[in-house]
């Protein structure tokens, strides 16, 4: 029984590491997206402030990079984007792009 047990432990550990790695990435995206949710409804609804659901990862990334580069279009998004690192922009764009449109 011993060898079986050891490989089961090993499998468990690999699973644990890879799952928590992916989970941590998603967690970071989710925590950053929580800051967006103060102004953008993440269910795709809302008016007055444009929806960010359904834009796709690339468009989200580019929009955030453009807002970070210049104050001229909007000082709110400029301040938001300035507070994000490259890695955080990638992480939040990936997370938001995965949220489906489901207006309530």
């Amino acid at each position: 029984m011993r060898p079986v047990a050891r490989s089961a432990i090993a499998t468990g550990l690999v699973l644990l590491v890879s799952q928590s790695g992916a989970a941590a990435e998603a967690d970071q995206g989710a925590q950053l997206a929580a800051t967006c949710a103060s102004c953008h409804r993440l269910d795709g609804g809302g008016t007055g402030i444009p929806s960010i659901i359904g834009l796709g990862e690339e468009r989200l990334t580019n929009a955030l990079l453009a807002y970070r580069a210049s104050e001229s279009s909007n000082h709110i998004m400029h301040a938001i984007a300035l507070s994000l690192s490259d890695e955080e922009i990638a992480s939040v764009a990936r997370y938001v792009a995965k949220q489906g449109s489901n207006p309530r």
Binding site: G46, I49, H78
Partner: protein, 422 residues
Amino acid sequence: MKSWTRREFSRLAGAALLTALNQPKARGQAKARVVVIGGGIGGATVARYLAASATAIEVTLVEPRQSYATCFFSNLYLAGLRPFESLSHGYEALAKQYGIIVVHESAAAIHPAAKTVALNNGSKLSYDRLVVAPGIAFRDRALEGYDEAAMEIMPHAWNAGQQTRLLRQQLESMEDGGLFVLVAPPNPFRCPPAPYERASLVASYFQRRKPKAKILILDAKDSFNAQDLFQDAWNRHYPGMIEWLPAQFTGGVTAIDAKTRSVITAGATFKAAVANVIPAQMAGRLAQQAGLANRSGWCPVDPVTFESALQPGVHLVGDAIIGGDMPKSAFCANSQAKACAFAIAADLTGSARFPAHLFNTCYTYLAPDDAFSNAISFKPVDGKLKSVISFVSKVEESSEVRRQAARAAEGWYDAFTHDVFG
């Protein structure tokens, strides 16, 4: 000795995995318990984000009222631009969608050593972590003569609800040519631009319905938030209608005489047709009773976890805290609440920690189609919350930019209340 079967083993390994990812560190119980006192903006946000981010935490929200009325946008209601019902939000979604246990009671006392909260109905709640978000209270004897009875004659309307409705009724029944006196509080207080937004929107109402009426602001301060933007707008939209008197000019408001509806300053007495008296403030009563506030009347906290500096295991968010550069706004309360919820989830379940993003934006109305905004991000520096990036609208902006901001503000209200109450 027991010999393990493969099935048992993988079941155990699976269990270990779940333990590592989700389970509360506290042993001997199925779920860690977090009690949140106060279902306002800060408390409701903490409850919601804790419940959404960690299934291994049982969240109980203690709030006496069946529904919450927002202070933000209540100045639009006072100006007749929004029905009161549009400010009101229930707790059904937090209970049904997020599985939060909502208890409609008042918390009477906190016992940090026993980790229990006593409710007004005599029952007790146990917790592993406690979050207290009681908002503000008015300082005792801040203004002579301004007691509970006087508030029914000269409302503060600084907690939204019956007080806000009372002030609206008084404004509606006021005769044209009447004097509306607004007493503005000393720093720090809930929402720095809000007294001046209120004066602006009441002026827009008077302009439409009572064009001969006047507004007098008697301030406890010598300057105020976004003063250049307000004074520019008052000249453009309501020339001659609003007069602002700083404390250095009046000597400050010293007393209130409700019988004659008068406001008394060091040098003069002003008799009002309608008076809105906003007194000096401090952290909500429960925070004072529970020893969570220091001598300033506000609550010192760790700027990363929002844990009390005075009572370990108790966290605070919102207007009640000493927020450093963070103003007492709904946006800040919501932003602090998310950082606090993620910190508590990390402590109780071992989930990963990331640097928090603390932010404030306030949309402020100068007229129904003229709004401005600010945008500030904050970071903990040497134990204090410091502003790092800050932008605010400028006086010379075009009316189209201001119209857009007024439209964006509507969108913000919808998204924001959705974020807080589900």
